[in-house]
């Protein structure tokens, strides 16, 4: 991996919490492994309907959010997050198998921080998470 062993990034990752909201268990396992290995504290959740409550409860530093979730879509979850002062600035990386420009438009309208289409590479995910956490960390 590009960043493992780099003291700057390992230090930057320390204590940062990532919540992965995804219902495909093998994707969850791979991403959790990847992010944990980089030093982030990774939590997972697979249900769209209760995702908002979980985010409010756990207060992660970043949310990796799938679009097609049981109970509620990622777009709806994102809109609710942006409508709440407490989560309006929360970095959200959206993962979707729907790569049409209309979906990207919808995600941007809803206030997504980064949009990524499946199948993604591990490097892309790590870069995005690192960018979002670092930029967000600098801003706050």
């Amino acid at each position: 991996m590009v960043w493992r062993g780099c003291a700057f990034w390992e230090e930057a990752a320390m204590g940062k919490q990532v919540l992965l909201v995804e219902d495909e268990m093998n994707i969850v396992e791979a991403i959790r492994f990847l992010l944990s290995r980089e030093g982030w504290d990774v939590d997972t959740h697979s249900d769209g309907a209760s995702a908002i409550d979980v985010i409010r409860d756990r207060k992660p530093d970043l949310v990796v959010l799938d679009v097609m979730l049981p109970g509620k879509s990622g777009f709806d979850i994102l809109e609710e997050l942006r409508g709440d002062d407490a989560t309006a600035d929360l970095p959200v990386l959206m993962l979707t198998a729907r790569g049409q420009s209309r979906d990207r438009e919808m995600a941007e309208k809803a206030g997504v921080s980064r949009f990524m289409t499946k199948p993604f590479s591990n490097t892309e995910v790590l870069t995005a998470v690192r960018d979002l956490l670092y930029v967000h960390g600098q801003r706050t």
Binding site: M1, N26, E29, L34, R102, E105
Partner: protein, 429 residues
């Protein structure tokens, strides 16, 4: 000899260009070589279906055969000018353009035809990707599984320090996902193989029903004459593969049989000959309800009229296309169609000139009415069905006509109070 009189010579010329022998073309058309020979020597007049079939086989516009290349070119240039909203004075200079710059005129006409063809393909594919639930789910499944495999395989390949426990776990996941990918790919290929390309997906029961109705040209002579029953027709229909499609076809045929009993085709034809395709006048003359008249008019092949029927939820139950009037194959139709306005006022007959926006401004006269279906009951909202007959009309100026689309995804109208989603024609894919 008049220009039309040279149709046979043009057919012979195009056949030679296509490298076909007379006997080959005759066989493809299902006619004898001697008959084709008479046609090619301008000794038999030709028109209608045979002309269209020849044009299709030779891959040319029918007007090119009847009126020559020049007329076909002019027709295409005028169509291109109309669709580009060129002022009339400019559009009328198409002759001058073709005369002074024949090469450029050909290029422009060919590009126009190509754009129209590509737009049709994009509409169909976009419609399918957006609204065909089976295809959307299959593609989502493929991409999701591919994402899991890609991510897991990369971890296995790139991390030499992976513990044996994790290695075993990821190998197990890979095995599971690769099986899943194989199954979903096979299912998707099978789904696509059932059809014959973009225009014929042949997948959903609705597709099967449409293929069945199109095969019969929406007319069932043997059913109307009593020689066949709905069941016997459904049993013989190879296009109807699923139970759902057979069930829907049986319902439609039953309705055709009931309509034919009350308004026999011969009586309808006589009345139309005298009164024209005026639904109200025909309903009075035949003593049957207007919705039945709309169905009977649409069942006459010679009139070439379109018919759309929807239920109270707005779902399209029956779609018989009229030339130039686009009816979406998947998903919802334009909310501005008089068909849906009729649902709000059951029993009231709506007649509206309509311009459908899309590749151009196609003009139609639409007659719509909603009727109650099912048995009445206390305190129960009536179930409704609305029918809309689509009649061709002379080119209408938008001042009078209601501007509608086919469905939001392929409609250029901006802004529109009925818009549900952005258009791929204005916003791109």
């Amino acid at each position: 000899m008049a220009r039309e009189g040279m149709t046979g010579s043009r057919i012979r010329e195009r056949r030679s260009v296509a490298g076909l022998r007379q006997a080959d073309l005759a066989r493809m058309l299902g006619i004898s070589a001697s008959y084709l020979n008479l046609i090619e020597h301008n000794r038999r007049r030709i028109g209608g279906k045979l002309l269209l079939d020849i044009a299709r086989v030779l891959d040319v516009e029918p007007t090119m055969l009847t009126e020559g290349a020049e007329a076909a070119l002019m027709a295409t240039l005028r169509e291109a000018a109309t669709q580009a909203n060129l002022p009339a004075a400019e559009a009328e200079r198409a002759d001058e353009l073709a005369g002074r710059f024949p090469g450029w005129a050909e290029v422009l006409a060919a590009s126009h035809r190509r754009i129209a063809s590509l737009e049709r393909t994009v509409e169909t594919l976009s419609d399918r990707l957006t609204h065909d639930p089976h295809l959307a789910t299959s593609v989502h499944e493929l991409l999701t599984t591919a994402a899991a495999i890609r991510s897991t395989a990369a971890i296995l390949a790139e991390d030499p320090d992976l513990t044996q426990d994790w290695r075993d776990r990821f190998h197990g996941n890979l095995d599971q996902d690769s099986r899943r990918l194989a199954d979903s790919s096979r299912a998707l290929v099978q789904y696509l193989d059932e059809g014959q390309g973009v225009e014929d997906a042949g997948a959903s029961p609705q597709d099967e029903l449409e293929a069945f109705l199109t095969d019969h040209k929406f007319a069932f002579e043997t059913l109307e004459s009593g020689a066949d029953t709905p069941d016997s027709i459904v049993t013989k229909a190879t296009a109807l593969r699923s139970n759902a499609a057979r069930h829907m076809a049986r319902g439609i045929l039953q309705k055709v049989a009931e309509d034919a009993a009350q308004a026999p085709r011969a009586a309808v034809r006589r009345a139309v000959k005298e009164l024209g395709p005026d639904p109200v006048a025909l309903a009075r003359r035949l003593g049957v309800p207007v919705p039945m008249v709309l169905r009977r008019l649409a069942s006459l092949p010679e009139l070439n009229l379109g018919l759309v029927i929807c239920d109270r939820a707005g779902s399209l139950l029956f779609r018989k296309p009229a030339a130039g009037f686009v009816i979406p194959r998947f998903g919802s139709a334009c909310a501005l169609w008089p068909l849906f306005a009729a649902l709000a006022q059951p029993g009231r007959l709506i007649r509206t000139p309509v311009v459908q926006l899309g590749r151009g401004r196609a003009a139609f006269d639409c007659v719509a009415v909603a009727e109650t279906v099912g048995q009445p009951d206390y305190n129960s909202a009536p179930l409704l069905q609305a029918s809309m007959l689509v009649l061709p009309a002379a080119a209408a100026d938008s001042g009078e006509a209601l501007e509608v689309g086919a469905s939001c995804g392929v409609c250029p109208r901006e802004p529109c109070p009925g818009r549900r989603e952005p258009s791929i024609l204005t916003g791109g894919l």
